[in-house]
């Protein structure tokens, strides 16, 4: 078995403004996901949705380290990553609620959140595919000589599908400015990753197969994810090529809206809830001397923001039916014949 490298975070904690930003991002993500869950219970969130509750420190740490021109690719579990790019809550929530105001006017749904304006290049619902597509964005940056970096998030279960392998190899061969982030939350849908994977660390133990070092980071520690992100992005931007990071974390709820997540051992859930990234980080900031009021005002602002976003989304009508036959092709229509 490959030795797994823990990244050194000797550089010390991030600057205070970064830490407050990390906290704010996590609070907003948490508020958003909790509200999405409530709205689902009220029958207002339609279709499926996959919450990132518990995994906020990964999205925040990497999101905060991105430059505005960098590209993000995520999975169906992509709400956090979308918010991390600065996409406003209202259109995201409206997309979950299948409203005209939605980020894609309801055409994509919660699994496909995309905001090209924010360089959130999409959420993808076929396991593995987007790793290859993310490569393409990174390749394009390189071809254009642009100092952009691409980050691509995916789950532990994704490491066993063919596209993972193809994407990692090509990224290294072409020395692409890309960072692959495996959010190892220990479960695929209802099956534990350990039961179907040949190695203990599904991503990090595979890194050497692509000539990369195995990097494991505590995915519930926003300082740690941020530090790893800064290092990996710097490497990519400096021409050092791809990185593969495995962030160990846990989803607090079920896989998707229909799933109460009962298949997981109680002790496992309890242990991870104790390591909830939000209270942990709040505590750490207080210990570092941040006045509680600063945190409270971040929290209150976020609560107001999610309330406003909810109202905006609720007020929006369902999408116009003409959208069904719009934008299949670049001419704006669906005409396949002449």
């Amino acid at each position: 078995m490959t030795d797994v490298m823990q990244p050194s975070v000797d550089a010390g904690p991030p600057a205070l403004d970064v830490r407050l930003r990390l906290y704010q991002m996590m609070v907003e993500m948490r508020d958003f996901e909790k509200r999405a869950y409530d709205l689902f219970l009220q029958g207002l969130v339609k279709g499926t949705s996959h919450l990132g509750l518990g995994q906020e420190a990964v999205a925040a740490g990497f999101g905060a380290a991105l430059a505005p021109s960098d590209y993000t690719f995520a999975t169906y579990r992509g709400h956090n990553h979308t918010l991390a790019r600065g996409v406003p809550m209202a259109p995201v929530m409206a997309e979950l609620m299948a409203r005209q105001l939605g980020l894609m006017a309801g055409k994509g749904g919660s699994m496909h959140l995309t905001s090209v304006a924010h360089r959130m290049m999409g959420s993808y619902a076929i396991v593995g595919a987007h790793l290859t597509i993310a490569n393409g964005a990174a390749w394009s940056s390189k071809l254009r000589g642009a100092p952009e970096v691409t980050v691509c998030f995916f789950g532990d279960g994704t490491t066993n599908i063919g596209a993972f392998h193809e994407a990692l190899n090509l990224a290294v061969v072409w020395n692409l400015p890309i960072v692959f982030v495996c959010e190892n939350n220990r479960w695929m849908e209802y099956t534990p990753i350990g039961s179907v994977t040949a190695v203990p660390h599904p991503a990090a133990d595979r890194a050497p197969a692509y000539g990369l070092p195995g990097i494991v980071v505590d995915g519930n520690d926003a300082d740690a994810t941020y530090a790893v992100a800064v290092a990996a992005f710097a490497r990519a931007r400096g021409g050092g090529g791809p990185s593969l990071v495995e962030a160990e974390t846990y989803r607090h709820g079920g896989h998707s809206r229909a799933d109460p997540g009962k298949y997981r051992p109680d002790e496992e859930v309890a242990a991870w809830l104790e390591r909830d990234p939000l209270p942990l980080y709040r505590q750490r900031l207080l210990q570092a001397g941040v006045p509680e009021q600063a945190l409270v005002s971040i929290e209150e602002a976020s609560h107001r923001a999610i309330d406003e976003a909810t109202e905006l989304a609720k007020a929006s009508p369902p999408p116009d039916l003409s959208l069904v036959e719009k934008d299949v092709y670049a001419d704006g229509g669906a005409a396949w014949r002449r």
């Binding site: 279709g47 299948a98 055409k107 749904g109 993808y124 599908i161 849908e189 099956t191 179907v196 299949v328």
Partner: protein, 324 residues
Amino acid sequence: MAEMSYRDAVAHGIAQEMRRDPSVVFLGEDIGSAGGVFKATVGVLDTFGRTRVFDTPISEQAILGAAMGAAMTGMRPVAEIMFSDFFAVCWDIVANEIAKTRYMTNGQVTLPLVIRSGNGGGSRFGAQHSQSVENWAMAVPGLKVVAPSTPKDVVGLLAAAVRDTDPVLFFEQKSLYATKGEVPDGEIVDELGKASVLRQGPAATVVALAAMVPRALAAAERLAQEGIEVTVIDLRSLVPLDVTTVATSVARTGHLITVEENPRLCGWGAELSSIIAEENLFDLDGPIVRVTTPHVPLPAADALEDAALPNVDRIVDGVRRSVL
């Protein structure tokens, strides 16, 4: 006779066959402990244990490759591809390997296997989890293709599929999982390639599949209220395709309307229409109308998805366009 959901009929059908034949094994993602993401295989693991039921990694090529290799060497695997959209990640194993190997080896290799998959829209899952792709399978020589519309047919056709010596793609329509129907007690075994005539009427022949069957029946009901009595045929299987039943009916009614969830181009409706236009043209008294989803990916929003999928209004309309 017991009332059973389409969902439960799947587990019932798998269990019936696994009990009968020890060479039947079952593999797929989350099918065991979790009973499937659609809860269609609840209890199968408990009944047959981990020597017959296998939860796999997210590796669709490896799943179908394993099924194929096992089928070549004496087993009768039933594999699940969770959503039929995911056939795209393992299409090579289906279309290039499973479909062609018997032919390429001049009949040396036999592949008695079944691939079950949740097919179709209506669940607001968006474009990558809602496709009806039974036409993809129909287009590839060497596969059999089945799509039941009732719990009884789920059990009977699944049994027929498992016992068939050819590879069968078995499409379970997701929007039907919650529907219920009577299922006779005891072992049920149906036959592949026989369409069901569900309603007789002289005005037109309406042919539907899977979730479109109840809609076609509802349209027939509505038309009957206006005095237009149509025949409704549930195709049940695309390969073998029961051309005889359809052609016989068209010879009587003079009108053919196909109703399919497939997007517009190259669906099974086009195939059926073109067969009739080639072999029975002079039986026709009006245009062959195909009611389909428009040629678009499926949108996620409920309002949009409902507008995209064929509904009773559009079927009624389709019949009118043919018989007028």
